[in-house]
Amino acid sequence: MSAPAVQNSAAPRRPARRIDVALAALVFGAMVLWFAPVGMGRYGTYVLSLWLVMSIGVMGLNLTLGYAGQSSLAQAAFMGLGAYAAAILTTRYGVSWYAAFALSGLLTFAVGLLLGFPALRVRTHYLAFVTLAFSTLIWLLIRNEQWLTGGVYGISNINRPDFFGIKLFGALEFHRFVVVVTLILSLKLWWLVRSPWGRAFTALRENPVRAASLGIDTRTYTLLAFAIGSAYGGFAGSLYAPLVEFIDPSPFSLSQSLFLLLMVVAGGSGYLFGPFVGALLGVVLPEWLRFAGSLYLIIFATIVLALLVICPQGVCGLIERGWHALRRKTGGAR
């Protein structure tokens, strides 16, 4: 008689506790990263910051792909838009970085809406085609419109922002700034995903027909997920520009967009921590694979391909699967 009662009381508590774990992990991770680069040197710190910036871009794409089930082949182009917007506004017009950051997000959000609206009107996987075209067009614009973007020479001497009067010129100071921004953005996403909105996104991915029949306006939600995901690309770009202090067209090409998509899948699409793992594989792995030279791209792509064949849920899915197997084992032993 007491057994069902225990089960009943345990069941509703579990989801609440799991959410706290995600939240705690985010905050704890940020704290670790705050202190992590001590003694790592300038370059190590830079790589860590780059990882976080890429994670933001991948996070946005994860929302589009992992939660709304749409593939965007233009995330690098959105990062490019954000990066160039931030660079041009801050270097040429003396706009403060914070305003430029917000404007980049708004710009990419608006472009996402404009792009997604006609594409999603048709059929779902047309978004992939439209973003493919868009990504190439943006790249052409960046490369050819020299008066605005500096063409292949790019824009240099991009200043790093202040934080209430504290200069963030040093690698460590700017890294900490990136940590804070990443934490805020990922908390925002964590909140979004577990809000009714996020539930609607997930419903879309799991079964669009059923979601529609439950009264969810699927097109609007898909469009919003894509636009918000694109805005994260813009945010990532406007952090990327002051981090590297120099931008040129090459990191915003179509192949980079595909690379970002592979990062989402490698980390585990639809998992909150997937983007961090994916970006780790995409950004930090090449540093470890220095000895392999340019082969690292092949190694990365092979890992992704193998993951897709073995476990399409990516590294996070693999961990989850292993965790469940472990729990079942210990449960059986007891």
């Binding site: 047309y126 439209v130 075209a133 190439t136 690379f259 092949i298």
Partner: protein, 292 residues
């Protein structure tokens, strides 16, 4: 006018090559719902493999050619289906499409590291002379490309529509379940489609490489244009892929000549977006019923 004809012929020639790639693309899509993002690399690689075989084993060109083509058909016709598509197809269209993106990176970087990062000359099978036609000087090579490509497409049409094997393949593409009931070896037919796709890629590679040279990064543009050609023409139509390919080739050639060389790439892209907005099923395509 003479100039215009020359650009038109050049456009049709490159368009015919895009059409070859686009047809392979639609064939694979029809039989196994594979959106192959590595299609451009499929066209890039045969030429690289042939040159590699010649370089590594010191073979004469014809033998290197045969070896390269055989290896390509084996790995990227049969192997692609068995190793990548078969285990992935049950996870759905999207993961498989992403897997082909990973494959394209592997192929591109593999060609760069295993062969050369520089563009290499690829021998042309026809003399690179210009002939005079109606006052326009036209490259013999372009005419040969048009001839070969159309012959290949004609042959394919005859095979699909006029032979028993081809009809079985078509039946598999249209309705695998019924095809299986009718006793058609569906698995073998799907494999045949992948081999055909690889063979079309080989033809396209042999035709385009003498002009654009053999380079690891060639696949990016070819793949993009083949992709656009397939969508513009109609995703589920061989005829559509042909029309789309020619259209894209001509649009690209004329845009480069009369609009801007910097933005020549933009014209097919704009065409793509326009088609998606106005006639999403493609110029020659039928409307697909929504699957619930």
């Amino acid at each position: 006018m003479a100039e215009f004809i020359a650009y038109l012929i050049a456009g049709i020639a490159t368009g015919a090559i895009y059409a070859l790639a686009a047809i392979g693309f639609t064939l694979v899509w029809q039989t196994s719902q594979t959106i192959n993002f590595a299609q451009g690399e499929f066209v890039m690689l045969p030429a690289v493999l042939i040159l590699l075989a010649v370089k590594l084993f010191g073979l004469p060109l014809w033998a290197g050619g045969l070896l390269g083509i055989a290896v390509f058909l084996l790995i990227f016709g049969a192997g692609f289906k068995l190793v990548v598509v078969d285990p992935m197809i049950k996870h759905g269209v999207l993961p498989l499409a992403i897997a082909t993106m990973a494959l394209s990176i592997i192929m591109k970087e593999g060609a760069k590291d295993g062969f050369s990062a520089e563009a290499q000359n690829f021998p042309s099978l026809v003399p690179t002379e210009m002939i005079n036609l109606l006052g326009a000087s036209i490259s013999l090579q372009h005419l040969a490309i048009i001839l070969v490509a159309f012959a290949a497409i004609g042959l394919l049409q005859w095979f699909v529509g006029g032979t028993r094997l081809g009809r079985q393949m078509q039946a598999t593409a249209q309705n695998p379940t019924v095809a299986r009931i009718l006793g058609i070896p569906v698995e073998r037919m799907v494999l045949l489609t992948f081999l055909l796709n690889a063979a079309l890629a080989v033809v396209a590679s042999l035709l385009i490489s003498p002009i654009y040279l053999a380079k690891f990064s060639n696949g990016e543009t070819i793949g993009l244009f083949a992709f656009i050609a397939a969508i513009v023409g109609g995703f589920n139509q061989v005829r559509g892929a042909l029309v789309g390919g020619i259209l894209i080739g001509v649009a690209d050639s004329l845009a480069a000549a009369y609009i801007s060389t910097q933005y020549r790439l933009a014209v097919p892209l704009v065409l793509l977006v326009a088609i998606i907005l106005v006639k999403p099923e493609g110029l020659m395509g039928r409307k697909e019923e929504r699957r619930v």
